[in-house]
């Protein structure tokens, strides 16, 4: 009985995190982006600096009519948002925010593989949406999504493998436990490659070619409206949370920090993840969208060689110090 309660509690906590953190990131994006562009951003909803803007947006989405285009493949069209969103919920289960069993939803033995595999499944949602919408812009968006995923999955995997080599384990808590401060310079290239590839996998600007709104309206999500559209948006922001949490855990040492080793480690994890989320927003504001060929070129000619070099470096250092 106690076990069941424990599991239920963990699931509940993860679910709450899943529902709130993306909104926090979204609101931060509203505000940070506005100020980086010399604006104020939302100021009305909720009274104080528009803190409830995304709640208001959610209410608005819920009120909208749920439309399925006449020519669409109905069931796949309706299923796609769930396929896009659920993997991130699963991934959140496996990300540890503090030392010990208590600070992770579920300890997964092959944590890295679990996380990357499930994140890859999320892209299926976009593909389904792109194909089932019966819309040429959606189809183009789906094609671009697939091409982008194929290009950026590999560097992500390779850099994750580099960290796993360094730590000698593929479990996420194990990696953080083995972390030393000098891993940061050692795995720096890998961290950057992982982060960039993750951004591309989330289709965040400057890698948002699949949803390039000035060319193909909104890519695979063109035909969506109401709650299903909101689910896709939530998936994107949940993806940011997951990516930042993963990068923190893999490359920035998770709960390790100068102070707070006793019980306050989770603050460090959250702080680092928040900083990374800020960087995600910062990059979005700063850089223009990459063209499709530039996007492919960046991955195949820069990120993959860099990640291979990182693996080689990791191997050499590992052999030298052991």
């Amino acid at each position: 009985m106690n076990d069941a309660l424990d599991v239920a509690l963990r699931l509940l906590v993860v679910f709450v995190v899943f529902l709130t953190f993306p909104l926090i990131v979204g609101q931060t994006e509203h505000k940070v982006m506005a100020h980086m562009q010399g604006r104020l951003g939302p100021m009305y909803a909720g009274g104080f600096h528009g803190w409830a803007q995304l709640v208001a947006d959610g209410v608005k989405f819920a009120q909208k009519e749920d439309i399925v285009p006449a020519g669409a493949d109905r069931r796949i069209f309706q299923l796609a948002p769930a396929v896009a969103l659920l993997p991130y919920l699963l991934v959140l289960l496996a990300i540890p925010i503090g030392p010990g069993e208590g600070a992770v939803g579920q300890v997964v033995d092959a944590g890295i593989f679990f996380v990357l595999a499930v994140m890859g499944v999320g892209v299926l949602g976009s593909l389904m949406a792109g194909w089932a919408s019966a819309n040429k812009f959606s189809l183009l968006g789906g094609l671009r999504t697939a091409a982008q995923l194929l290009a950026y999955e590999l560097p992500m995997l390779l850099t994750a493998a580099s960290v796993a080599m360094a730590a000698g384990t593929v479990s996420l808590p194990g990696i953080v436990a083995a972390f030393e401060w000098w891993w940061v310079p050692w795995q720096l290239v890998g961290a950057v490659v992982f982060f960039v590839a993750g951004l591309a996998e989330l289709q965040r600007p400057p890698f948002d070619m699949p949803v390039a709104d000035s060319e193909i309206i909104f890519g695979a999500y063109t035909e969506y409206t109401g709650l299903r559209f909101a689910l896709f948006l939530l998936a994107e922001y949940a993806g940011i949370v997951v990516l930042c949490g993963l990068t923190t855990v893999l490359f920035l040492g998770g709960w390790h920090g100068p102070w707070g080793a006793d019980g306050l480690g989770w603050v460090w994890t959250l702080l680092k993840a928040a900083l990374l989320a800020f960087v995600v927003i910062w990059l979005r504001v700063t850089y223009p969208r990459l063209r499709e060929d530039q996007l492919q070129k960046l991955s195949w000619t820069l990120l993959i060689p860099l990640s291979l070099a990182q693996i080689a470096l990791t191997g050499i250092v590992k052999v030298v110090i052991s």
């Binding site: 593989f113 890859g120 697939a146 194929l150």
Partner: protein, 217 residues
């Protein structure tokens, strides 16, 4: 391929159930294994029988995911996640990518039926039978201990892969490398063909050139 894999899974499911010590009082894991096996099998059947091409690809996701769950139930966690990562995350995405490039319609494809249906069925059944027979024969007395330390954890899998199965592993990698190089060579030749249309002005010349290339290949 998918059918074979699915039937293999189903076959394994039946084997384990049959081999189970508590066949008449099966544990929860065994029941789950059997049910997931049935779902996987069904998904695989639909994959090859549906007339909607993209649906076939998505049912394939279901079948492959079901297989991953079966691996999980057999405590082979690493293999399970790799299955999801490679097959669901990459192979199916590639498949869908290819399908989107074609004129696959929404709804039924009128020409999605093959005349070789019976031949294919025969081959599939034969392959399934062979696999079932081999698996039953090989693992007749093997018992996966679900209670003890995980038999399929990353550490165990890695150790057995690089201690007992190094040679097949390396042979496989050489095979993949050869495939990779071959793909590059083929794509480069196609490009050369496309960029020299002036040479292929006359059909006869083009044909002779092509036959030359076939010869060099």
């Amino acid at each position: 391929m998918s059918l074979a894999a699915a039937t293999a899974a189903a076959a394994r499911a039946t084997t384990t159930a049959a081999e189970s010590h508590g066949f008449l009082s099966p544990t929860g894991v065994e029941i789950a294994f059997l049910l997931v096996g049935l779902v996987t099998f069904g998904a695989a059947i639909v994959t090859v029988t549906t007339k909607q091409l993209v649906h076939a690809a998505l049912w394939l996701v279901m079948a492959l995911g079901g297989l991953a769950v079966e691996y999980l139930l057999l405590t082979a966690e690493f293999i399970a996640w790799v299955q999801v990562l490679i097959y669901v995350g990459s192979v199916v995405v590639l498949l869908l990518f290819g399908l989107m490039l074609t004129k696959a319609p929404i709804g039924r494809s009128p020409d999605a039926d093959s005349g070789n249906r019976w031949v294919a069925l025969t081959v599939a059944v034969a392959a399934a039978a062979a696999l079932v027979w081999v698996v039953v024969d090989a693992f007749r007395t093997t018992w996966v201990d679900l209670k003890g330390p995980a038999a399929g954890s990353t550490e165990v899998t890695g150790a057995s892969l690089f201690q007992n199965w190094v040679l097949p592993f390396e042979a496989l990698s050489v095979l993949l490398l050869a495939a990779l190089v071959g793909a590059i060579v083929l794509s480069r030749k196609a490009k050369a063909d496309a960029t020299t249309p002036a040479d292929a002005a006359t059909p006869a010349g083009a044909q002779s050139r092509r036959s030359e290339k076939e010869g060099t290949r």
